[in-house]
Symmetry: C2
Subunit: 167 residues, 2 copies
């Protein structure tokens, strides 16, 4: 079985949570790693199933009502995750920004900028609120990632503000 980034996200979240249902994973991803790597909710149901089949997670299922599946990481899963963490990252990062794409093809910067400024202001405020509330108690990894998010939002803000101001 081929492990994708999403596989490792799931392994990482399950390891951190101890045990988790897909819905719990959704909640956990939403405000943390979801800002970093989009995970479709449908994947949170299909992917753990595959990981369980591969022996990296154990699956336990309610046999009535919502028939929730609860996952826990196995030693094999822990090993795979650690191996991935120690290997050099494969591939380059990519940025996909619909606003920037329009700008590339000639959209009017002055028309685009205000909305983009607002969007990034909101995002930045959200990140900084998280940092203020949990920064001190967060594990190092998530905190560093959050810091990366913050500095990038600052960069975006400066960029779009300059475009809003010009002309």
């Amino acid at each position: 079985m081929r492990l994708t980034p999403v596989s490792y996200i799931i392994l990482g979240l399950v390891r951190h949570l101890g045990e988790a249902t897909p819905y719990a994973l959704k909640a956990a991803a939403a405000e943390s790693v979801g800002n970093l790597w989009t995970v479709q909710h449908a994947q949170l149901y299909t992917e753990p199933e595959k990981l369980a089949a591969a022996g990296m997670l154990t699956e336990e299922r309610e046999d009535a009502g919502r028939r929730r599946r609860t996952y826990r990481i196995t030693d094999a899963g822990r090993e795979a995750l650690d191996a991935w963490l120690h290997a050099p990252p494969e591939g380059t990062g990519e940025t996909r920004d619909p606003g920037l794409l329009k700008l590339f093809f000639g959209a009017d910067p002055a028309q685009l900028a205000p909305a983009e400024v607002e969007r990034h202001e909101r995002k930045l405020a959200q990140y900084e609120a998280t940092m203020a509330a949990f920064g001190a108690t967060m594990p190092q990894g998530p905190r560093l990632a959050l810091e990366a998010g913050i500095v990038h939002q600052h960069t975006w803000l400066a960029y779009w503000r300059a475009l809003a101001g010009a002309r």
Copy 2:
């Protein structure tokens, strides 16, 4: 027919080039919009076909040898592209960075940082070389997008350098 970002990328490139074969689109995308939005080469063959069927491009085909298809934009295509350019961007931008993902899940920053620094240095050098060579003659859109790429590479560099220096 539903138009995706890739559709507009193709329309935009064809409009700019005047006429283009899929292979020409590949070359055109590689060093410009490809840095902004990844386009799979296979899409450059399938997508124009759909756009031609929808009346947004005309298709002309060699009937011997490589059987290249040459595309040109139609008025309908131009209209669709302009409408898209004037509409507010839908959806938020997203960043996907394998290195940052590993950092999030606890990879050692000091081990990750040097390679990331080098990667972003290379990318930055490439962008700046492009800017130095063509900056003065580039259309505004691509130049602004390139500037965005440059400031972000600076942000990444500062970020990873700090992590390389710490501890």
